[in-house]
Amino acid sequence: MRNALRVPLALAALAVAVLLPVAAGPFWTGLLTQMYVFGLLALSVDLLLGHAGLFSLCHASFFAVSAYTTAILQVRHAVPTALAAPAGLLAGTLLGLVFGFAVRTRGVYFILITIAFGYVVWGVAHRWSSFTGGDNGVTNVPFPDVGAVRVESHTEYYYLVLAVVLLCALGYRLLVASPFGLTLRGIRASETRMRSLGYHSGLHLYAAFVVSAALASLAGVLYVYYNRFVNPVAASFPISVEAALMAIIGGTGTIVGPFIGSMIILWLRNWVSSFFELYASVMGLVFIAAVLWAPQGVVGLVGRLRARLAGAGSG
């Protein structure tokens, strides 16, 4: 029954996603675009968190470095999108190659070192104003224009992001089912056994870190063309934390989970901040509630409910 429902559900979700901009208007189109972009960022965090068991708190760095790179090239140097976007992706990934050395540590040390990395990048964005534009950041980023694909409205951009995110989700699905993905779960379960089975566990974690950074960088590129500007907020610690929270609230180790988490958090933020200034405190409470009552996230909660319903049905 589980598999029988899956395909129709996915098709229905796709149909809704495609039709929404028509039905919902520009506000929701924009918010949804943002939900996809941050869902992708959360998905990148979850490759480490939900599979390799590494809690990274520096993913805002890759996100921001790619966003800044793309923005600076496109705005200040009039580099076309066809080059500026890949350059952003590359810059974020290269940073991943450097920060990847964090995998020499484990547990709380890994968390601490990634926090420190994140602050370094935020500090540069914030203080090196001649290059990054300081607190104002880089503004007036145009819509992407790659010859064949020329985006001229938020609705069109919505469809571009939807397509890219869907492709990423499909690729991610292959990745986590592959020997490489299994290896990461093996390392999380028992690194000592993995070593004795012939795995250079550090190298696998490093590779996973770089892949994850590349995915976060892609989210950064998508973000800067949506947002039309980038400032140090993109590199800030709360972005890294929120990306992890999205994965946890939605359900780690899954693909829809990070996207569901992204939708919940961005929707809540939008709704709560319209009438309550202490929105950050509300998010904190939501997180505590999730950890206490739904540690497996929304996906886990749905699974439990279904198991209970199935039990009641047969019993």
């Binding site: 779960r185 070593r195 089975l197 566990s201």
Partner: protein, 250 residues
């Protein structure tokens, strides 16, 4: 003409933990195809010696060679690639993965395809087949999709052995494979170890004297980190010092 290299050659191996010498200048040589059993009282340093040979721990001094090739400085995963395989005294299996996934990891560990990122594990027919064979060997084939957490203690011990065998080792290190098993499970495991082809050299730590003496070609007795005797099962059994040390006051 040189004599063929020993499968495992250990010389002057020492491991210190702080002030404690867990392994004290141990030397031993195991011929290809041999079944060598290590015995000794609790805390004698048997597991630590295994750890140092397989690369789990770095020895404080001494050398280890595998088929004539020095491996003392090689990391553990490289030694596995060269043909070492082991089980752990305390079951070390992947609790939140299925039995199939456990076996697949063991099979792929010494295979370049472990780096593949674009093809599901289930699409590798030979891996699936070998995983099933590995599970059949220990009688767990019917539970391929079960999560290991749901297995009994005895079943985990058997999975432990299946993992070590699936990486295709030339030299197998078994750390008390029968500890804590029921008599029937114990019998099954020792029969399985006895039936391993002679192409695999086996070193085994075992407390159960019946199992140990039934399988061993030669026995090494360890006490307080040192080798106090090496010989055939008959010699070891007859030795008064061993009876004193190993069986306490007889």
């Amino acid at each position: 003409m040189t004599t063929p290299a020993a499968a495992i050659e250990v010389s002057g191996l020492t491991k210190e933990f702080g002030g404690l010498r867990a392994v004290d200048r141990v030397s031993l040589s195991v011929a290809p195809g041999e079944r060598r059993v290590l015995i000794g009282p609790n805390g004698a340093g048997k597991t630590t010696l295994f750890h140092c040979i397989t690369g789990t721990l770095r020895p404080s001094a001494g050398r280890v060679s595998l088929f004539g090739r020095e491996v003392t400085r090689l990391p553990e995963h490289r030694r596995t690639a060269l043909g070492m395989g082991r089980t752990f005294q305390i079951s070390n299996v992947f609790a939140d993965l299925s039995l199939f996934e456990n076996l697949a990891l063991a099979i792929l560990g010494t295979d370049r395809r472990k780096w593949m990122m674009h093809r599901p594990v289930a699409a590798f027919d030979d891996v699936c087949r070998r995983a099933r064979e590995g599970l059949e060997l220990v009688g767990l084939a019917h539970r391929e999709r079960t999560v290991v957490r749901l297995l009994s203690y005895g079943e985990r011990r058997q999975l432990e052995l299946a993992l070590a065998l699936s990486s295709g080792p030339r030299v197998l290190f078994l750390d008390e494979p029968c500890a804590g098993l029921s008599p029937s499970e114990r019998q099954r495991i020792s029969r399985m170890i006895g039936a391993l082809p002679r192409a695999i050299t086996v070193l085994m730590i075992e407390h159960d004297m019946d199992v140990a003496l039934g399988l061993a070609d030669r026995v090494t007795v360890l006490h307080r980190g040192r080798v106090i005797l090496e010989g055939t099962p008959g010699e070891v059994q007859a030795n008064p010092e061993v009876r004193e040390v190993y069986f306490g006051h007889v």
